[in-house]
């Protein structure tokens, strides 16, 4: 094993897939293969792994469980799910429990997969926790509510409530010290983002609020440090995949909202936001590039039909400017 090559682990119960991966990647990387989730966990404990690519449907441990284990055992490992089975629950738990980097579907295109792995490896190497930091902070906060005090509690929570009455349900769960802003449309949301310091953005995703997907993607493209929590009503697997891959959503919360789950997610989100501010190089893990959604043209008219004086182009440029104005403020 050459030490200077990055290490990638593939997990799949189908040996043929592992063989294909071997042929595809053996030249550039050190490869590890696991036929099951259990084997993958064992290998995670022994090796330092930059990128983990797992199948979802396997006997024994499933993919999201492998991701969850990896997140705890080796938080620096960039986690990718590669599956032929588009299961909504699996997609949601890959985010909420496994904090997945990308959700890929079988069959893949070799070039795309190579690009993705290259990107993941770069990010993994760039964001590797320095030994000094590793002992004091973890890149992945535990799922349990944080008990430690925060260094910076100034960042608030922005709730974009567009009809699901999420604000009323979320507000009581918030820590009284956390500032909370509520917007009922994207225009108000961007104004609040311009004026206030926001660490966690809670936004709903329903069939009526398709434009929010674009908004989430734009926000993540320019402001990966603002954590996105999506409250979703409809169970559309493709939307979830899009929101994972192009929106790097931190948590998916299903309706009806369970307060404990919400509180835990917001606390982790705020903590994660602080971490990204503390170590800005980590942001690249959550940044999405424009190419991720350039294929889908933005429907300006349909997107903001309720605001004639407010176009998506305007929103886009304001999101872009957001960072700069904020930087000057701080």
């Amino acid at each position: 094993m050459t030490m200077n090559k990055p290490t990638i682990m593939f997990v799949d119960d189908e040996q043929h897939i592992l063989n294909a991966m071997n042929w595809l990647f053996r030249k550039q990387y050190n490869l590890l293969f696991a036929n099951s989730g259990e084997q993958a966990v064992a290998l995670l404990k022994e090796h330092s792994i930059d990128v983990l690519i797992s199948d979802q449907k396997m006997p024994g441990m499933c993919g999201t469980e492998v991701l969850k284990a990896a997140r705890e055992l080796s938080p620096d490992t960039v986690r990718i799910l590669l599956t032929g089975y588009s299961d909504y629950n699996a997609a949601v738990s890959s985010v909420n429990e496994g904090e997945v980097f990308r959700f890929c579907q079988k069959p893949w295109k070799n070039d795309n997969l190579k690009d993705l792995v290259l990107q993941a490896v770069d990010i993994a190497q760039m964001t590797k926790t320095p030994v000094s930091v590793a002992s004091t902070a973890t890149t992945a906060p535990p799922l349990a509510p944080a008990t430690s005090s925060f260094m910076d509690r100034s960042a608030g929570v922005l709730i974009v409530d567009m009809g699901l009455k999420t604000a009323d349900q979320i507000k009581p769960t918030l820590n009284p010290l956390t500032e909370c802003f509520v917007a009922t449309n994207l225009k108000d949301a961007i104004e609040l983002l311009e004026a206030k310091s926001v660490g966690v953005l809670i936004i709903e995703h329903t069939h009526r609020t398709r434009q929010n997907v674009q908004f989430i993607k734009m926000m993540k493209q320019h402001h990966p440090e603002i954590i996105t929590i999506v409250v979703c009503e409809n169970e559309d697997i493709n939307d979830v995949i899009e929101l994972i891959n192009a929106g790097q959503v931190f948590r998916f919360i299903r309706m009806p909202i369970r307060p404990a789950m919400m509180k835990m997610s917001i606390d982790s989100g705020l903590k994660h936001h602080d971490l990204l501010n503390l170590r800005p190089q980590l942001r690249s893990r959550y940044k999405v590039d424009a190419s991720m959604f350039s294929a889908e043209p933005i429907n300006l008219e349909a997107a903001i039909e309720t605001h004639s004086d407010f176009s998506f182009k305007d929103l886009f440029s304001r999101i872009k400017r957001l960072g700069r104005t904020k930087d000057t403020v701080h």
């Binding site: 043929h16 063989n19 042929w23 595809l24 024994g60």
Partner: protein, 505 residues
């Protein structure tokens, strides 16, 4: 199912009821009016007889004293006859007869009847015993007072006559009175009552008819809707399970597609790298063949070759090409096996009854269901030697799939499929070690829309449809369950399936 035609039955029923009720009413009315009439007429005749007896007491005393003599021989007969006639005048009396105690007609206003013997007549005998009797009869012709009248309703009364305070009747009068107009009046009254009653009845009935007809329409449309809904639900259940299966199978297909595609792309790229080296090799070989020398010296343009080929050598060795292709071919076999199984499972092309190898069907369902149920569920098969069963294979497969899926949903980790012959039946059991079904729930599991699963997971139609399918095959779907241990579902199919195999949705 044939609908119960409410309107038809109610109509037929009420017409029958109407006819019977009218018949009874008519008879009762007739009897009642006749009895009234008889009673009235008898009283009239009684009074008349006694009045007559008073006026002609002298003649009567003679007549009854000589019971064997007819009065026409008497010298005063003419005067007597005229007197009686006079007395009858203006009354509805048609004829008067007088009998002595031995039944001899000693007097009659119809002269030719005198002397006739009445001693055996029931009416006469009754009157002789002191009880007057009357009788109503219709006469086409009637001779009264020496003249013929026709078409009459006549009441004849036998009246006992007592002379001088005698204890037993001294003789008997027979009085015929004409009740034609009275009877006509009664009849009119009867008709009127009947008409009134039937019109009230008709009115009531027509009201009722409209209510029933609209109720019937409502019931029929409800039945129709119900059947439509049922059909629709069965259809959507089928589509849902088919959809779930297609999703699972396409995942199953995605795996071989993924690696075959990847392998072929790698091969395609690798073959590109082979072009220059293989040209070089081919040129060398050609050169060797062109010369007859055993050893030749070559001058090579190393710079050109360096330029055209990779410095790292080939990514893939020749034997690896074989391996890549071999694995791709194995992937193709996987895919075609999956497609064949899917085709066998649905049997869309053969949805009619045919001799079906149940064991083969179970193998097929097992193959398909593996991709639908969790990976950790172990399915074992104990397949006995069973004959072919005439049935609709796709439907029977649907039942097996449903039973296995249910077992997996109940948290089973082991499922056993067994087949065996039992008398004239073939028995297929699906035994699981799942959570079992509580006894209070067990009787409901075959009902439509009964489900213990989450609203989004189960329609509650799976077992209902399964039971229907098996019953349409003349078979039986049985269940026995122990909470905490598991459940056994038994499909019992007759080896000779009834000819009228029904088509279900």
């Amino acid at each position: 199912m044939k609908n119960f035609s409410l309107v038809r039955y109610v109509t037929i029923g009420s017409i029958l009821f109407f006819i019977i009720a009218m018949g009874v009413l008519t008879v009762l009315l007739k009897q009642n009016s006749e009895a009234n009439l008889l009673h009235m007429a008898q009283q009239n005749n009684y009074r008349l007889s006694n009045l007559l007896a008073k006026t002609v007491e002298e003649e009567l005393t003679f007549m009854f004293a000589n019971p064997t003599l007819t009065y026409d021989k008497h010298p005063d007969f003419k005067t007597f006859y005229a007197g009686v006639q006079k007395n009858m005048d203006g009354l509805q009396v048609l004829k008067v007869k007088i009998f002595t105690t031995i039944g001899l007609t000693v007097f009659s206003t119809q002269l030719d009847q005198m002397g006739a013997d009445k001693s055996t007549n029931a009416g006469f005998l009754s009157a002789l015993n002191g009880v007057p009797t009357s009788e109503l009869s219709h006469r086409d012709t009637f001779s009264a007072f020496e003249q013929e009248v026709s078409n009459l309703d006549v009441i004849s009364s036998y009246i006992p006559i007592y002379l001088d305070g005698a204890k037993t009747p001294s003789g008997v009068f027979e009085v015929y009175s004409d009740v034609t107009p009275l009877l006509a009046m009664y009849k009119n009254e009867q008709y009127y009552t009947l008409a009134l009653t039937s019109s009230i009845f008709l009115l009531l009935w027509s009201g009722l008819f409209f209510v029933i007809r609209s109720a019937d329409k409502k019931i029929n449309s409800q039945i129709e809707e119900n059947q439509k809904a049922k059909l629709h639900m069965a259809q959507s259940e089928k589509m849902a399970s088919l959809g779930e299966m297609v999703a699972a199978v396409s995942h199953e297909l995605n795996t071989p597609i993924a690696f075959v595609q990847s392998n072929l792309n790698i091969l395609s790229d690798a073959i590109g790298d082979l072009i220059e080296p293989s040209k070089l090799g081919a040129n060398l070989a050609e050169m060797c063949h062109k010369t007859d020398k055993d050893i030749i010296r070559l001058a090579m343009n190393a710079a050109s070759i360096r330029q055209k080929t990779s410095a790292d050598g080939l990514d893939f060795e020749a034997d690896e090409f074989k391996e890549l292709l071999g694995q791709s071919l194995a992937g193709m076999v996987q895919m075609s096996e999956l497609v064949r199984n899917l085709k066998d499972f649905t049997r869309i092309d053969r949805n009619r009854s045919a001799d079906f190898n149940i064991n083969k069907g179970l193998d097929n369902v097992h193959y398909i269901v593996r991709s639908v149920i969790p990976e950790n569920v172990v399915i074992t098969k104990v397949l006995g030697d069973i004959p072919l069963i005439p049935c609709m294979a796709s439907q029977i497969n649907q039942v097996f799939l449903n039973l296995i899926q249910n077992a997996a949903h109940a948290g089973a980790t082991e499922i056993e499929l067994a087949t065996f012959t039992e008398g004239t039946n073939v028995c297929i059991t699906v035994t699981d070690n799942g959570s079992g079904i509580p006894a209070d729930v067990l009787p409901q599991i075959f009902e439509s829309f009964f489900t213990t699963k989450e609203r989004t997971e189960g329609s509650g139609l799976g077992l209902y449809i399964s039971k229907e399918i098996i019953e349409n095959h003349g078979g039986e779907l049985r269940v026995s369950s122990t909470v905490g241990h598991g459940t056994i579902f038994s499909v019992v199919l007759p080896i000779e399936t009834p000819a009228n195999l029904k088509q279900v949705a």
